[in-house]
């Protein structure tokens, strides 16, 4: 039985036990109250945080041009007349604070992860961190990758690139693990504008439905986190870089550059939201992935992939999340109850026929 079916079956069971003599009036009242209860299990809020202005903190040539238009394109696509979605927060530039995304003192539950939110969308910079060696360590196998640069750590992998079936624009080189970090430039930042979402300080989606398995209470509630930023995840660390941030959210969507980086474009958010308007029974993961096909140059310079990952306490539940439609996404009854298993999808901007080994790593 699916969880989505639980309230429906509960309702049917309850109704079947109502004494007939209660009459239509009470039955209708009961149906109404149950309807209210079920409606309360639906999240339809949108939180969008967009940053263009960085130079006051990071110096020249660090500003972006399209983040606000991108975030607003998402809002506009999701909120046409008659829409079921509504805006909870729209923060831009200096009003996007690092604390908005972090769990401590319930900061995120008043901002990026507010209860009643279905989708939390960040668009802006991701921090460049230690990754490859200098000079690049060319390799043929991950076993050769043992000397991480400053800011990175083991394990290292031999990132595949450059030849047929692999990401274009580079040759294989050793790369290493580093936590992923959003970069904001808020007027009230407490952590120098850095939002590390790999190390445990960020926890998104915890709710009464998910439970407190992540140990951060139940005061959050977003169901989908979108990180439209540089270096959202990096091959092949997708699970480790995102697992800690998932505290009940159904999915996380981002971009995984392989040989290039995310392009700061104005239409990714609108194309993503537009997919809901086209077919609300369509898969949310599919909608995010295929924005790549409609964006000039795919939205990634060099080789890269749009990426979605779902976590839960069983493989079946993780798989169900990755297949969720927009209608399913609203259902808080399906909030993740653990993060022990994941299911992930990529749409990568190059052709590959590899079936017997990793497309991302020379093992």
């Amino acid at each position: 039985m699916t969880a989505a079916a639980v309230p429906r079956n509960f309702q049917e069971a309850e109704m079947s036990h109502l004494p007939q003599q209660l009459g239509r009036k009470y039955r209708n009242t009961a149906v109404f109250l149950l309807g209210i209860t079920m409606a309360g299990c639906q999240s339809t809020g949108l939180v969008v945080e967009s940053v263009n202005l960085y130079s006051s903190r990071y110096g020249a040539n660090t500003d972006l041009a399209n983040s606000i238009a991108n975030g607003d394109g998402f809002i506009r696509a999701m909120t046409p007349s008659g829409s079921e979605w509504h805006v909870v927060h729209r923060f831009t530039d200096g009003l996007v604070w690092d604390t908005d995304f972090l769990e401590k003192a319930g900061w995120d539950s008043r901002n990026f992860d507010q209860s009643g939110t279905a989708i939390s969308y960040y668009t802006g910079h991701g921090l460049t961190t230690g990754y490859g060696e200098n000079p690049p360590h060319r390799c043929t196998s991950s076993s050769q990758c043992t000397t991480p640069p400053s800011g990175a750590s083991l394990p290292g992998i031999c990132k595949a690139a450059g030849s047929t079936n692999y990401a274009p624009g580079d040759t294989p080189q050793c790369v290493y693990y580093s936590d992923r970090v959003l970069a904001v430039n808020g007027s009230n930042d407490q952590f120098s504008g850095a939002v590390n979402y790999s190390a445990g300080a960020a926890a998104w989606g915890e709710s009464p439905n998910s439970g407190n398995w992540r140990g951060v209470g139940t005061d959050g509630g977003t169901n989908l986190v979108v990180l439209d930023a540089s270096f959202g995840v990096l091959p092949t660390y997708w699970a480790r870089q995102t697992q800690a941030a998932m505290a009940g959210a159904h999915m996380l969507a981002t971009i995984m550059p392989v040989t290039g980086d995310t392009a700061n474009v104005a239409d990714r958010g609108g194309l993503f939201g537009g997919s809901w308007a086209q077919n609300s029974d369509g898969a949310v993961s599919n909608a995010w992935l295929t924005t790549m096909n409609s964006i000039s140059g795919s939205g990634v310079n060099g080789g890269g992939c749009n990426f979605v990952i779902a976590f839960d306490n069983t493989p079946e539940r993780a798989q169900r999340h990755i297949d969720e439609s927009w209608n399913d996404l609203k259902n808080d009854g399906w909030d993740a109850q653990g993060n022990q298993f994941y299911s992930a999808r990529w749409l990568c901007n190059w052709p590959s026929t590899i079936t017997d080994r990793s497309i991302f790593e020379l093992q």
Binding site: N61, T62, L64, A65, D72, G73, R76, P80, S81, G82, S83, R90, F91, L95, W97, T99, D100, R110, H125, T128, T129, Y131, G132, S150, G151, A183, S230, A239, G260, D261, A263, N264, A266, D267, G270, Q278, N279, G282, N286, T290, S294, S298, F311, P315, D323, E324, D328, Q340, Y342, S343, W346, L347, C348, P351, S352, T353, T355, S358, I359, F360
Partner: protein, 311 residues
Amino acid sequence: MNIHALSVALMTGLFVAGCANVDLPSPAHQGPIPEPGGGVPGYQHGGGEGTKFAIGQNLRRTSQYGYLKQIGDEGTLAIRYSNGSVFGVPNAQAASLKLPPYGASPIDHGRYVRDYFVRLGLPTDQIEGVRNMTLLEASGRADETEKTIPRVTAYYSVLTRSVGDVTVPDSFAWARANSEGAIVQEGVYWPPLPSNVLSDARKLERLLVDPAQRRVFASRSSIDPRTGKVAIRHAAANEDQFDAFASLDITVRSSVSGSRQRAAAARNARVPLNGGTTIVKHFGIDGVERFLPQESLNLIATYPGRKDVSR
């Protein structure tokens, strides 16, 4: 600015239908779209004639959120009233999604998708190329006690557009086909283009090879035009307001790094910062920066910025 013949037809149809209180308008005819001013013809997809989109049974039509929709048991074909862009979106559980990709290779898939659109009327002389994308899936334990190898589950083939030798990067016709040859998902936006954009693009090309013109352009724009690429840009598929212009596209990079990386970079200029995000800026023939409609969007008036410090 030139208005799409298609959107006029769609909007007129809707208006008439609304006034007459009759059924929804029929979708515009599938095939080439002439450009009334002698410009570049476009292509309209999804009129229900010949599309292989796996929409399923029990078809019905509706109008919703700015789209004329044909809805079946397996998916929806949605045509945007304002600009004619079309998206065929499968339901999350559609049977068509479960089948492996068409053909023995991405090249097979790309050829099949190209033929599909050409057969329906997409102008072959405007096809710049076919870009094949790979859909992968993986699942496993999050602690990765055993490393999971992603598996290929589908291909998407994207037809890119050019007019003459000038690229039109905002146009697309893409599809995913399964092993039965059904189109699992598709998206098309290939609008007609007004005649002046091509002539302006030619002027930009001439400018690039003329040192005197380059100097004038550089003085107006503060950029070196030799770093740019001539393109015809137009509004995105999700934009209701159409605009198109010839552009010298300049790609700039922007990245932010942590303090350790910045310090390392200061010590050694060779420290790689792993790229950085890119932004494409557009400059018109007059050297003035231009913006596409989607790049100018700002909803500050609708959602005024407010935040209490206690947050």
